[in-house]
Symmetry: C2
Subunit: 140 residues, 2 copies
DNA sequence: TTCTTGACTTGGACTGTGTCCATCGTAGGA
DNA sequence: TCCTACGATGGACACAGTCCAAGTCAAGAA
């Protein structure tokens, strides 16, 4: 959204058409696209946008804390515009659908000092796995 | 260990020298090697073992539930022989060290029904991030 | 013990994901 | 309007992993 574009301009970004479409493609809820998906959607609006530019822009958005990188499996990373509100993920093992979820409790507090091996623990990621309603339906 | 080799024989595996060294390399606590690391350690004992065989054997051990696949970042998957005891991971953001940890509480129970979107939730992975004692030391 | 055979191994080609770089283009200030 | 440093581009490259046809051998049969 243009809030984001304004923030980026304030941080010294040049607002190019490429950056604009990447930011537009990432707008929405429960959006967790791969870089390739971002590229192909961006290319619908700006046919000659390059893969390198999409990767560069996503990387910069991640560095600035505007987008989160999510690694859920050994496949491509996913890019999550919902970076300002801390949340976790629920993933369908069958079709890969990803939902943002907000567990109760404090997962960091669940790690006793005796289980910290002297680490300074600063963050935690939780990934719930299961079957989405469509994939859980027995026959169709 | 040879418990594992015996179980594998019982499941119809041919015990080849390649499979034996892969299983031996995976023995121990807090072992989370990449396929390439398994390959290079295996090659110390059996110089001509191929990458394909290491990947095949690791994949079969995962299918049989004898080894767990751990995806912690966008890099190579890690293979964890501690598959029978459920546990989570604590990872140093600086050097990549991985420790097995056992958080208190029931992470699955922390996901309220209203946050399940109709999914049948069957599992959860928790990854704690921080700095290990060596990397947290200010100057060395 | 030797024979037989299908399961296993091998090297190399291939794919998917991501990075790097030299060169070209352009956003935005002067 | 002009300048120029920042950004875009395409293609080469790197890494992780998969696939395949051909050769090898573990282990049961005789
Ligand atoms: Mn999310
Ligand atoms: Mn582990
Ligand atoms: Zn599903
Ligand atoms: Zn460390």
């Amino acid at each position: 959204m243009s809030d984001l574009l304004e923030r980026l301009r304030g941080r010294g970004w040049r607002i190019t058409s490429q950056r604009r479409v990447v930011v537009e493609v990432l707008d929405g809820d429960h959006v967790h696209l791969t870089a390739e998906e971002v590229h192909s959607r961006a290319a619908l609006r700006l046919p000659e946008i390059s893969r390198a530019t999409v990767y560069n822009t996503l990387g910069e958005l991640v560095s600035l804390g505007e987008v989160m990188e999510v690694c859920t499996d050994g496949r491509a990373k996913r890019y999550d515009p919902n970076a300002r509100q801390p949340h976790q993920h629920l993933i369908c093992s069958e079709c890969g659908t990803i939902r943002d979820v907000h567990p109760a409790g404090d997962p960091l507090g669940d790690l006793p000092a005796t289980e910290r091996f002297g680490f300074t623990v600063s963050g935690v990621e939780v990934t719930y796995r299961g079957l989405c309603p469509s994939c859980a339906r027995p026959l169709g």
